[in-house]
């Protein structure tokens, strides 16, 4: 860490600084954990910020009950390995009403099972700050997001309330009814996330790596059948294909890509290597992700 400081060192130090400021300034923070690669980096940085002590806040996962089984196994192992205070919240009211990703539009499903669930979990826990893994490079609407992003009562994001942030000073004094989302990865790029995972040798969910999995093709997308809850349409027969995932979510809503990349280096090279056509393929993914992000903004992020 002496001469020739790398940009990852600088990013890491900045994120640690943000974690410590937030933990010191807010009464009851919580870390939002979604099990994916960004959450993996977020959690690793949090551990560095408070090492050798236990994380001074709990880790919250919003479980829709439609996550890949591998994700849940990875989550639980991570919680055990790092002695996390893991809180899992599910909107059982939504489940009782039969809201699921197969019969309902993704927007409805996401709103009930993710956004509403998150707001309820934050209210129940009376958290005044929630760490999230959002990055400014994710999409244009995030480019101006603050590190401390303030929410009015009801988790509303109001542009007029966003505070100027200068130098390394972070002002976390809350007004009446306000809460805050804290984004320690604000200045990281997607490439940095992968670079850092490789550099720090972090474990990620095996779904990021290619393996033979039972798939069906539907609407031009490859879906992996994680259990038998999704009824097959006429003519659909599960076929074993070598596939991996670029992003992870609820399994009926997350498309896989055909790939033989069984180690992380190859995955990263494939993901970011970007010949034109490959990237355009990815842009489609990205747009869908963008739509998801919009849902999140309605209260999620």
């Amino acid at each position: 860490m002496s001469a020739g400081i790398s940009h990852l060192d600088l990013l890491e130090a900045e994120s640690i600084h943000i974690f410590r400021e937030a933990a010191a300034q807010f009464r009851k923070p919580v870390l939002l954990y979604s099990i994916g690669k960004d959450s993996t980096v977020l959690l690793h940085l949090a551990r560095k910020a408070f090492w050798p002590t236990k994380l001074p806040f709990p880790v919250l996962h919003i479980d829709t009950k439609w996550k890949f089984r591998d994700m849940i196994a990875f989550r639980d192992k991570t919680a055990r390995d790092f002695d996390l205070d893991l809180i899992v919240h599910t909107n059982y009211n939504g489940i009782e009403k039969g809201i699921n990703p197969i019969d309902y539009a993704p927007s409805v499903y996401t709103d009930v099972m993710k956004t509403t669930a998150l707001k309820a979990a934050l209210d129940e826990g009376q958290y005044d700050a929630a760490f999230g893994g959002a990055r400014r490079d994710e999409e244009a609407s995030r480019a101006k997001e603050r590190v401390f992003s303030f929410r009015a009562e009801g988790h509303r994001w109001d542009p007029r309330r966003q505070r100027p942030e200068m130098w390394r000073l972070l002002n976390g004094r809350l007004g009446h009814g306000e809460t805050v989302r804290v984004f320690p990865l604000s200045n990281w790029t997607e490439r940095d996330i992968w670079r850092y995972i490789l550099r720090e040798k972090l474990d990620v969910v095996p779904l990021y790596l290619a393996a033979e999995r039972p798939t069906i093709e539907r609407g031009g997308q490859l879906l992996v059948l994680d259990d038998d809850r999704m009824p097959l349409k006429d003519g659909e027969t599960p076929v074993m294909r070598s596939v991996r995932f670029r992003t992870l979510g609820c399994w009926p809503l997350t498309a896989a890509v055909e790939s033989t990349a069984t180690d992380l280096e190859t995955v990263v090279a494939e993901t970011l290597g970007a010949t034109t056509s490959e990237r355009q393929g990815r842009l489609i993914d990205h747009d869908q992700e963008g739509a998801m992000e919009k849902k999140k903004q309605e209260g999620y992020f």
Partner: protein
């Protein structure tokens, strides 16, 4: 190789590893944050677009989009590079009070963070806000117009906020027949202007953003210019985090205890260097101890420099808490209750002499017992004009008295411990940003009617539970601050009594 890449080292794997190196770059040579100032008319978007086009990791389809657009950069056959920047900016208009758009690009060797504050209006607060994150500023002017009042304003703001390196990009040289005489005249004006300020480096580069001249490649149209080309210069400047720094400072963010024998003072070194074995002092209590360990999760360090986030364990417990600034004994920050500062007013709500304000320094939050505006800075003439009011986009000189002493530096001595935000005590909003110009070690000689909030008074009631439970000094002082604020809101000048072992 990671734990997950358990496959034997086949050729394919090697190829993959090479690919990944090619794609990610193993070690970017640090990072530089660049603020771009100037108006669209001067060709700002074209310059940034050109830099992205020539030097960075743009994807093929992004290039194709620009080429397909059919638009050309003014007066040339080149594509309109500004589309790379402008399209994004338009999307980003969200009505945030202060807009700064962040853009991240990698050249083969370095991460550049391009900070842009779009919009002409209210540029002072936007620019000040953007400048505070920048290592360097590129000021763009049109060669036909030369150094204007706007350049002077920009330079004044950059200097106040602490940007140490500035580049004047003299654009549109193609429209003045690549005239060396004209460029030299502009360069002379610029150097003269910069003498008013504390920049380490002020460089003028003649360029044509549309043609790419002296942006990423040396111009054949201006053989007389032998100085650095813009990109080359940006890649060779010292990275963020490696600039020379002065006395050691580490504002303590929090104290980490593992329940056994570890008690680490966690913080980011904001200035200078600290080594194991050196003695550090808490300037407020004047207590000192030796550095036993500089701990990180990746292993202990022998030394830590500016920008390192560490946890320092001392050989004796001197009860340092958040808000303290660790320093070496011979170069202590000032412990003060009064200061003079230059502030830029960021809020739409103007200064209210009866308002309740807090001063947020690196890690301390202190009630303000008096805030007095003394003058406004005229950015055109750089003159100070006496004033006692202050509103949005003003740069003002002010005197501040604090409800209790805190450790501060002058901004020119140590930027991070010499800067602060003014916070509205009621809404919590950040309303102004300031840099300390003078901090006196003298206890303030405030006239008469100041109500002293004594520790005894608090011990008896509000903080009685802390007394009996042996609660923390931090909680005690938090409560004291809040009481002070309420009293101030009621128009009572108030000071909070210092802890018993405090000495100036």
């Amino acid at each position: 190789m990671t734990a997950l890449s358990a496959i034997d080292g086949t050729n394919e794997d090697k190829a993959a590893a090479d690919d990944v190196t090619a794609v990610l770059g193993q070690d970017l040579n640090g990072m530089l944050r660049i603020l771009t100032c100037g108006s669209v008319d001067d060709g700002k978007s074209t310059l940034i677009g050109r830099l992205l086009w020539d030097a960075t990791d743009l994807y093929d389809d992004q290039r194709a989009t620009i080429e397909r657009s059919g638009r050309t950069a003014g007066g040339t056959d080149n594509p309109d590079f500004s589309l790379l920047v402008d399209g994004l900016v338009a999307e980003r208009e969200q009505g945030i009070t202060i807009d700064i758009a962040w853009r991240y690009v990698d050249t083969k060797t370095r991460r550049f963070v391009i900070i842009d504050s779009p919009g002409h209006e209210q540029y002072t607060r936007n620019m000040a806000s953007g400048a505070s994150h920048a290592d360097l500023a590129i000021m763009l002017i049109d060669a036909r117009h030369g150094v204007k009042t706007q350049t002077r304003r920009h330079a004044a703001i950059l200097d106040m906020i602490g940007v140490k390196r500035v580049i004047l990009a003299v654009n549109k040289m193609d429209l003045v027949d690549w005239s060396e005489d004209l460029f030299r005249a502009i360069e002379t004006d610029f150097k003269a202007l910069c003498k008013n300020f504390g920049f380490w480096e002020a460089l003028a580069i003649p360029a044509s953003a549309a043609g790419g001249d002296n942006v990423a490649r040396r111009s054949e149209n201006m053989p007389w210019y032998t100085g650095p080309v813009l990109l080359e210069h940006l890649e060779e400047l010292p990275s963020r985090g490696t600039a020379p720094t002065g006395p050691f400072r580490m504002p303590v963010q929090t104290v980490l205890r593992d329940g056994r024998d570890f008690r680490g003072l966690a913080g980011t070194v904001s200035n200078g260097t600290i080594r194991v074995g050196e003695t550090v002092v808490d300037p407020i209590s004047r207590k000192s101890a030796r550095v036993q360990r500089i701990a990180t999760m990746d292993g202990d360090l022998e030394s830590a420099h500016q920008g390192h986030a560490v946890a320092i364990q001392l050989d004796t417990d001197i009860d340092v808490a958040r808000g303290s600034v660790l320093a070496h004994n011979d170069t202590l920050p000032t412990v003060t209750r009064t200061l003079k500062a230059k502030i830029v007013w960021l809020s739409d709500v103007a200064f209210d002499p009866r308002g309740s304000y807090l001063l947020r320094s690196a890690t301390d939050l202190v009630p303000i017992s008096m805030l007095e505006i003394t003058a406004l800075l005229d950015l055109d003439s750089l003159d100070q004009k006496p004033a006692n009011v202050c509103g949005v986009n003003d740069i003002a000189l002010c005197s501040i008295a604090l409800g209790r002493p805190t450790a501060l530096d002058t901004f020119s001595g140590a930027q991070e411990t010499g800067s602060f935000m003014l916070v509205d005590a009621i809404t919590g909003a950040s309303i102004a940003a300031g840099v300390v110009s003078e901090a006196s070690n003298q206890a303030t000689d405030q006239a008469g009617d100041v109500f002293l909030l004594t520790r005894a008074m608090l011990d008896r009631g509000l903080c009685a539970d802390l007394v009996t439970s042996g609660g923390s000094e931090a909680e005690f002082s938090r409560r004291a601050n809040e009481v002070a604020l309420i009293l101030r809101a009621a128009g009572i000048k108030v000071e909070v009594e210092s802890p018993p072992d405090y000495q100036i």
